[in-house]
């Protein structure tokens, strides 16, 4: 398998910092230039990017394909709904802390079981366990609202410890605007944390496990524990995405726990390219636009997305980022 790293070893940390700063500035200016609908779309894209980044710590860096990440996304979303409905909390920060702690615990329990296997059995195990959560959300309707789900009204929410609230007139307008920057900030923080993790000795150990489990064990890496820790980090970040997603969507339903949603997370990661750090970000944004416009333009949007996925797997397995990097490298060589 060919390896395409978005960040070649020789690239200096300064170039990465400057590049990311430019992207961040563009993302910060964009809502001033586009209409509110585009801002909402962009927010969804950033949220899914966090989910895909978290997911890719397992797929791209540890070599484990989870087909059950809907469990953590959905757990985050439902925990926020519970915290707001049952504890009457309004603070988003409280929801984030509570939600992430809850998802971490769930990921720790399910991960402890799942990392006993690799390859296809890991995939089936993650899938089966995620469906346990789905069936519970589906059946315990007096707790979860069943298929109707739980409403999470943004008007009840406050950001930054109560500094920003959304009571009164123009509530939705103010919410989507403020929430975009809130999500952008958390996206930036998550990206930095995951970048540091993947480039730390721990991240290198995960990659060693991915590339050769036996050798990794011989150099003294306790393979199962490392996989378990990676699983917990991965699940928690995907949970954070679910937490941020639910106030924007206004409703949480069992659909986000159902296994086809796990498939979507895999889809967007592969679309961007799971062999690079930035791939999941690009893939999640691209998938978000693709899905939105496919749904808007045809009743048969699943067909369209399915065809895209099949073509992607057959022709462009390196994804958008991998393919672009390869083309750029080719161009660079021919101009020299």
């Amino acid at each position: 398998m060919t390896m395409v790293m978005a960040v070649p070893a020789g690239t200096s940390i300064w170039r990465i910092t400057i590049g990311s700063a430019i992207v961040l500035v563009i993302l910060a200016i964009l809502p001033q230039l586009v209409d509110p609908y585009q801002t909402v779309l962009l927010t969804y894209g950033l949220i899914m990017a966090i989910a895909a980044l978290g997911f890719n710590l397992l797929l791209g860096y540890t070599g484990l394909l989870s087909f059950g990440h809907s469990a953590y996304f959905g757990a985050g979303a439902y925990l926020v709904a519970f915290i707001m409905r049952d504890f009457g909390a309004h603070s988003m920060e409280l929801c984030i802390v509570g939600g992430m702690l809850g998802t971490l615990i769930i990921a720790a329990i399910l991960g402890f079981v799942c990392v006993r296997h690799t390859r296809i059995f890991f995939g089936i195990l993650t899938l089966a366990l995620s469906q346990v959560l789905w069936s519970l959300a589906f059946k315990f309707f007096w707790v979860t609202g069943g298929t109707d789900g739980i409403r999470v009204p943004h008007a009840n929410l406050t950001l930054l410890g109560g500094l920003v609230d959304f009571k009164g007139a123009g509530s939705f307008q103010r919410f989507i605007y403020a929430y975009y920057y809130y999500v952008l900030a958390l996206f930036a923080v998550s990206t930095i944390i995951l970048w540091v993790i993947t480039h730390s000795p721990f991240g290198k150990a995960l990659q060693a496990i991915r590339d050769n489990e036996t050798r990794a064990r011989f150099v003294g890496i306790s393979v199962r524990r490392y996989r378990w820790i990676a699983f917990m980090i991965s699940g928690t970040f995907t949970g954070l995405a679910g937490i941020l997603w639910v106030p924007l969507n206004g409703l949480t339903t069992p659909d986000i726990l159902y296994w086809p949603f796990s498939g979507e997370i895999v889809f967007m990661t592969v679309l961007g390219g799971f062999r690079s750090f930035t791939g999941p970000i690009v893939g999640a944004m691209a998938f978000n636009y693709l899905k939105t416009y496919a749904i808007a333009s045809t009743e048969y949007w699943q067909l369209l997305l399915g065809v895209v996925l099949v073509i992607l797997v057959m022709a462009l397995p390196a994804g958008i980022v991998g393919t672009t990097a390869r083309l750029a490298a080719k161009l660079g060589r021919s101009t020299k």
Binding site: A128, Q131, W301, V307, V310, M314
Partner: protein, 296 residues
């Protein structure tokens, strides 16, 4: 007591349908090591095609000439259609991917699932299709004080026949030997002059036929609806995980276990009946990763 007998009959009915689906899934995994996420969608396709054929046959007042036996013989046409679809899918979508890692197998079959779901919506519309007329025509037989649909017993008979037929086919025919040889060692089989590509197409088509047959026999009892295949796939997974991926006996025993646990669950613990099944599958994977009958 009567209720108890009826619950047991229901479990056997459910086990027969699950066995057909899971046997196909297991056969495909056993021969080509592909976990087919579109398998449920193929089952749904079989249900739709059969319901549509039976529906139009009855609609055109052909029933008088065909009779009940004739309409029953129309049901497997759905399975044959699915087998034909399978014979198209394997060489075009799956063959280029055998050398690649299994992540791509899952992804391409997931894409196929999305495509098939919408193709069914496109061809058959959003209204559920059913071949309930067959079930009505077959009447019911008395079980104690209650009546039980004869058709359900027919499905159990189909399930038993399929299990015996498959066993004879795989263990008692020359093609079965070739199939098993290819499944054990693809390269060695190729070196001995077996046309592996052809065996793969055939095995995939047979697997699809079984999924389609499952859909075909279920549709007189239960309407074909959108999303049918997505739901059933996970249950089929549970069956093959319990029984062992790639094992025919495993699919049979797994289907019986899942059917009986589910029937008991709906009766005694309806809130967690599905959760219990998934937890059983997870527990089996932990204790015996290869399932009850799987080989390492």
């Amino acid at each position: 007591m009567t209720i108890f007998v009826i619950q047991i009959l229901n479990s056997f009915f459910y086990a027969a349908v699950l066995f057909l689906i899971a046997a196909g899934l297991s056969l495909i995994y056993g021969v080509m090591r592909i976990v087919n996420l579109a398998h449920g969608a193929l089952y749904a396709l079989g249900a739709y095609v059969s319901a549509w054929i039976v529906g139009s046959a009855i609609g055109h007042a052909l029933e008088g000439n065909l009779g009940l036996a004739g309409v029953l013989l129309l049901l497997p046409l759905g399975a044959i259609a699915v087998a034909a679809v399978g014979a198209l899918i394997e060489p075009t979508l799956l063959r280029p991917l055998y050398r690649r890692s299994e992540e791509y197998h899952l992804l391409v079959t997931f894409g196929l699932l999305m495509i098939l779901e919408d193709v069914m919506k496109l061809l058959f519309g959003r209204t559920p299709l059913s071949a309930g007329a067959i079930m009505d025509r077959m009447g019911s037989i008395p079980v104690g004080r209650l009546m039980y649909p004869t058709y359900n017993l027919f499905v159990v008979a189909v399930g038993i026949a399929a299990a015996i037929g498959l066993w004879a086919f795989i263990y008692r025919t020359k093609f079965g030997v070739i199939l098993r040889a290819t499944s054990q060692d693809r390269r060695m089989a190729a070196a001995l002059g077996i046309n592996v590509s052809r065996v793969y197409v055939q095995a995939f088509a047979i697997g699809c036929f079984l999924a389609g047959l499952g859909g075909a026999v279920v549709v007189p009892a239960q309407a074909a609806v959108l999303g049918l295949g997505i739901e059933v796939l996970i249950l089929a997974f549970v069956v093959v995980v319990i029984g062992g991926l790639g094992s025919l006996q495993g699919a049979l025993v797994g289907a019986l276990i899942v059917a009986f646990v589910r029937t008991a669950g709906i009766q005694f613990f309806p809130e967690i009946e599905l959760a219990v099944l998934y937890l059983i599958a997870a527990a089996v994977l932990l204790v015996r990763p290869t399932g009850l009958f799987g080989r390492a």
